[in-house]
């Protein structure tokens, strides 16, 4: 069926099978491979993108459900070549190692910071519950989000 979705500010119309998930659409049709697939059961959060300003797991949303929506992926976070303060904070605090869970982490961090501009460590950890990282032990991810909060509040 025909679907119109705005991704990172650009509007696309495609004829897609209803069973195609949003993440497949992003990766296969739009070649936006920054969003990753880490599991089948909505458990790992690697596929997190923003739909109408809210973090969602794009493996657990059909592309047809996103008809008419505004989607932001990791590729849409940097502006004019400048990393978003959250991305910059992840680099500064070594909040990533293999990089696979990272796009999902950045996208969920944006949601956490939207709802908690001055998050406590507990609020950050609570907010990261839906995202697995197997490399960092979360330590530096928490630090990255704390730094991002400071930068965004400046």
């Amino acid at each position: 069926m025909n679907v119109t979705i705005t991704v990172n500010g650009k509007t696309y119309t495609h004829d897609i099978e209803p069973r195609i998930s949003l993440v497949q659409y992003l990766r296969e049709t739009l070649d936006l491979t920054g969003t990753h697939i880490g599991c089948d059961t909505s458990g790992c959060g690697a596929c997190t993108v923003s739909v109408n300003g809210e973090a969602v797991k794009s493996c657990t949303m059909l592309a047809v459900q996103a008809d008419g929506c505004e989607v932001t992926t990791i590729e849409g976070m940097a502006q004019n070549g400048e990393m978003h303060p959250i991305q910059a904070a992840f680099k500064e605090k070594h909040g990533l190692q293999c990089g696979f869970c990272t796009p999902g982490m950045v996208m969920v961090a944006a949601d956490i910071l939207k709802n908690h501009p001055n998050p406590s460590e507990e609020e950050i950890r609570h907010g990261l519950k839906g995202n697995f990282c197997r490399c960092t032990g979360y330590h530096n991810i928490v630090k990255s989000i704390q730094l991002a909060a400071e930068t965004l509040n400046e």
Partner: protein, 786 residues
Amino acid sequence: MGNFIGKAVKRREDARFLKGAGTYTDDIKLPKMTQSAFVRSPYAHAKILSIDITEAEKADGVVAIFTGKDPCGDYGVPCGWQVDFKNGETMREPKHPLLAKDKVKHLGEAVAIVIAETLEQARDAAELVEVDYEELPAVTNPLKAMEKDAPLVHDEWEDNAAFDWCIGNDRAEVEAALEKAHHVTVMEYRNQRLAPNAMEPRSYIADYDVNGDRYTLYTSTQNPHLIRLLLCAFALGIPEHKVRIVSRDVGGGFGSKIYHYTEEALLTWASKEIGRPVKWTSDRSEAFLTDAHGRDHVVKSKMGFDKDGKIVAHLTDEYCGMGAYLSTFAPAVPTYLHGTLFQGVYTTPLIHLNVTAPFTHTVPVDAYRGAGRPEATYLLERIISKGAQEMGMDPVEIRLKNFIPPFDGVEQEGYQTQVALQYDSGNYERALKKALDKLGYEDFRKEQKKAREEGRLLGVGISTYIEGCGIAPSAVVGALGARAGLYEVGQVRVQPTGKVSVFTGSHSHGQGHETVFAQFVADKLGIDMADVEIEHGDTDQVAFGMGTYGSRSLSVGGSAIIKSIDKILEKGAKIAAHKLEAAEDDLEYANGKWTVKGTEKSVSFGDVALTAYVPHNYPEGLEPGLDFSSFYDPGNFTYPFGTHIAVVEVDKDTGKVELQRFVAVDDVGNIMNPMIVDGQIHGGVAQGVGQALLEEVVYDEGGQMITGSYMDYAMPRADDLPMIETDNTVTPCPHNPLGVKGAGEAGAIGSTPAVVNAVVDALAHLGVTDIQMPLKPQTVWKAMQN
């Protein structure tokens, strides 16, 4: 030490990862690429009566379907390490077929591959393949696999043993010492099976080029060259120069991406068969069923102490599950990577370990972060703490009594253990004391006493670990059964402009080689980091290599690069001397230039580089160019060590464990980039804590896996962990040029027993002396009730 070495330089690979611009294998699309799906066994053990592909072949978009009856069924993947029986019988090495032909031997074993135009079509058609099985009895527990009437995994042998093995002193001597010991502590437990769960599922694309008769395999591997070797020489029998392995960004490995998997070889074969590229990316559900698992030891151990708490003897028998087939490194894990660590950091005079390695109807087991060393450390650090508890001693006191005294490997000789290895350098007491200070051990004990009076259950657990990594001297591993050398290769090519390209056989899957390697290369050459580029992960680009595992990249891969740098500087000096019209001996190299000692006369690195490639005015008899490749084969393993301390509170009503603090003082030798070392420790600790508290692959009696998704397999999430308090002591490695030891596995090795010791400590006054991992609330609560 330099501008970059030892500094927390930010990672250069981060920009692409943070922008979603990394290139993981599943991100790659090739023209005319097909997709594939596997038909996998729903049984742990069954006869394949028939496979009917007629309906599937008719499905939309199907390009080809192959089963074990096709030629690919005659190929298999090899094991890379041979450990023979104690009685001299050769290791039993079953064929590990690319597709099962007559029998399936573990849940998830592939019986057919369906290749189609799209992934959806491949999946739909795979459902239409009808396989008729006759289910057979299965065995999943290593101990039960060695019972008399256990179902056989491989009919060609009379029992399920793949090999057996022992190390250490004479068994009778150890037994006699235990007889005479003042106190003997006994432990029996299972070091549970774990699923590595790198966040990137395995992914492969095979592309056969008919014109050039060449194969390219894009693979999410930790060691591209090793895969090429195994694929070419063992699995498919194709010449190595016809094969290119490309492994761009890899999303974590933790061991699980070392091995040569059947899917890699099968796709490579199939691509030639259909004349088009074939892709396969694992689902997480498939990953649980087919990625090599870790651990799975059944352990019975005794440690004898004298009346002062000094260890007098240690005897252990283990049954270490191999799974249904022998994975690439599997035989080495419970033997040479495990038994050789039984000395720990203690002066134990008598040690004997006996290992039986049975096949079971489960997915193969192989190296998982730490590989054999976490299992050794868990045993030692638990049993010494249990011994202390039983004898009424403090866990710190018993360790101090038994520590090997400090030695630096230069002034003092390396420490020769009872179990083959010679430790390079160590100061175990210093790390322990630093960790105790960081924690505030005495204050904690007071707090704990007060808490107990209030009915709260606080506990502290200590683990003073050592590991052997940076494998290794090839002659040694060869004598121990390795079928490959374990050196590393580093090529340094100085471009005519003075920029430097480094080609390394080490492969980063999160470790940050592009940054750390550039740090020391820039410093050694006295140039800017921006002028150094690190290349890896493509066998057409990098001469040779053995890959990244066993915390070896910096100590082995880094040393190979250093060797090439030395050659560059040696040759550069000749060119510089010629240009400066001075004797080589009169030159000194610093800050990127050769200077005639005591003068202002100098020539820069860039000038020399240009001269090397434009040799108009050039030393006679010297080859042009500035490009060297070196093999480095280390003289010994490296031996990082440290102390990990966990503080927990146990909910007395529910048994739930809260990890409140974790202190890690690690000695990984010299540190190139403290930020990255800390990061490695954090991640390792999280995985070790995962094993202690959460993780376990559970197969039921029939061989079905009941923890096959993130709904049932628990891994640490952000709210399961506290901030991890790290620190270091530095005892340089005496035998490699960087003085480094390795940090990748340390966290996972030291942390697990620290957490379990802490929980047992919290419950000690209730009479609890041991609990089986993982320490699920239910398990802890039940331990408290007995």
